[in-house]
Amino acid sequence: MVTNAYEYEDGNALAGPLSELFAVDVTAATGRCVSCGDTGRVADLRVYVNAPGYVARCPGCDHVMLRLVRSPDAAWLDLQGTLSLRVPMPPG
C-alpha cells in the first residue's frame, strides 16, 4: 500500500457534521490541545475521514483532539484530546 503523507482534510470538513450538534459554527472556534497545549482554529485541524467517522488531529503534535461518529440514531463526540474550546459568540 502506498501511504500518502497528505491523507487528511482540514477542520472545515467538520462544519456540516458538527452543525448537527451545535447551534454555532464550531470550525471558527479556537481549541487547545491536551497534549502540546497549542491553540488553533478547529478549521485548521487535520481531519481523517477514512476511519468510521471523523478523527481530528492537532496540526502541531498530531494528538487526536476530536472524534465524531454518526450512527443512524445517534452522534458520538469524543473531545478528550481538547482541553478547551473558545467559541466566538454574538454579545449575549
Binding site: 500518502n4 503523507a5 497528505y6 491523507e7 487528511y8 482534510e9 482540514d10 477542520g11 472545515n12 470538513a13 462544519a15 456540516g16 452543525s19 448537527e20 447551534a23 454555532v24 459554527d25 470550525t27 471558527a28 482554529r41 478547529v42 478549521a43 485548521d44 481531519v47 475521514v49 477514512n50 467559541v87 466566538p88 459568540m89 454574538p90
Partner: protein, 254 residues
Amino acid sequence: MARTALPGRLSPRLEWRVATLADFVDETATARTLLLDVPGWPGHLPGQHVDVRLTDEDGYSTQRSYSLAAPADGERVELTIQRVEDGEVSPYLADTLAVGDPIELRGPVGGWFLWHPSRTAPVLLVGGGSGIVPLMAMVRARRQARSRAPFRLIYSVRTPMDLIYASELRRSARDDGGLDITTVYTRSAPEAWPRPPGRLGLDDIERFGWPPQFEPTCFVCGPTGFVEHVATTLVHLGHDPRRIRTERFGPTGG
C-alpha cells in the same frame, strides 16, 4: 436581505434540503458547474460550502462537501464539481445528474474560510486546481458589491486546458479594478507564456502576492499538499499565520 450564516451567530439547525439541477456549464473536460435551485435557501457568504448527500436505491448513502462557487443569489446555488476518477460522488454529479434531477444538500456551513464583502483589507487568494472554486465566489462577490478591496489571485493549474472559469477570469482581470490575476502553469504553459512551467514557488508567491507588511488576509485552497506548501511558504515570507486561512481537499474529495 437574505439571512446569512455568520460566525458565532446562532442559526437555525441545518436541515437537508432537496435541490434540483436547473442547468449546468462544462468548464473543462473534467469540471462542470451545477446550477441548482434550492427552495428555502437561507443565503451564504463567499468561501462557505455545502454538504451534498446521495442515496442509492438500496438505501446506501454517502456525502461530500463542496465549496459554493458564487455569491448568494436567491434560491440559486452554484457548485463546480471536479471529477475525481475513482470518486464515489463526483462522477455522478459531473456526468450523470441531469437537468430536473434532485439531490440532497445541507448548508451553508463553515465560518472560518470566508470573505465578507464589507472588508477593505488586502486579500491574497492562492488556488490550486479546483481550489479556485471558493476563491471565485470571493472574486464574484467583490465585483457584485463593487468592492475596491485590493485583491490578488494566484491560480496554479497543470495546463491551459485545466483552467476553470477561464474567460470570466480574463474579463475580471480587465474590468474588475484592483484585482490582479496571475496564472501559474505546472506542466505546460501557453506559447510565449513569460513563466516556464513548474511548481508554484516562493518566488511566485513573493512576486505576485502582497508583502507581509500590507497585512493581507490570505486564502489558500487546493489539494492538501499544495495548501501545506503554500501556507508554509507564506509563513516563511513573514506572513502572520493568523491571517492565513486554508481549505484543503483530501484524498476523498469527490
